[in-house]
Amino acid sequence: MTNYNESQIIVIEEELPKEEVLQKMAKLLESKKLVKDTYLNAILEREKTYPTGIDTEGINVAIPHCDIANVNEAALCVGVLKHPVEFAKMDDPDTNIKVSMVIMMALTEPHGHIEMLQKIIALIQDQDILSKITMTNDPKIVFDLTKDKLI
């Protein structure tokens, strides 16, 4: 069972660098003891080496995650970025794309979570939902739009 609820959605209105976005989201998971205190650093390092920005040719999404050793409980944190933030592309780390939604994953099983991962990938491919998600400032609306689409 993946831990995901309205309190794990952050709408960020100000323009922040990627590292601060990742920090806010990781610290939220850490404050709920869902991840270990090593999680944030693992996420930041991972993003440098193997970035997670996915270029949809529309509303772009990043899916930061890291080794299961840094996680206590399977969980998601969703960030809606009102000012799109530059992430490097997963398939081309030298190129940046503007990302409007971050789906941070805390995973506990190697090669598991298949249903959730498939749902997340399906969501990334659904520009209609993504545009509704990025249009609102209300975490409750984001949760209602995503609860069945993510877990």
């Binding site: 949809t56 040719e57 995650h65 890291c66 090669h111």
Partner: protein, 92 residues
């Protein structure tokens, strides 16, 4: 039995999705495959045991002498079918 190595940054998340889509496609095509996931860092030591390498992240290494297919399309959905056909073409 063809052996496919599927790699992503952690060998945990995106390679799982890609592995599932490739298994489904191969089953539909009647191709028997053995699929193994790993981290991109582990590719160099493992690749020689496989017929094909599929990666979600960027990977280039001149020491790898098996075909390599980038599978970001299986995550974005853009050109997904062409990429699956390309993967299958390496397995026939």
């Amino acid at each position: 039995m063809k052996r496919i190595l599927i790699a992503c940054g952690n060998g945990v998340a995106t390679s799982t999705v890609v592995a599932s889509k490739i298994k489904d496609k191969c089953e539909a095509e009647g191709i028997a495959v053995n699929v193994v996931q790993c981290k991109l860092l582990e590719v160099e030591s493992k690749a020689s045991d496989f017929d094909l390498l599929v990666t979600t992240g960027k990977y280039s290494n001149d020491d790898i002498n098996i075909p390599v297919v980038g599978a970001i399309a299986l995550l974005t959905g853009i050109n997904e079918e062409e990429t699956l056909e390309n993967i299958v073409s390496h397995l026939k």
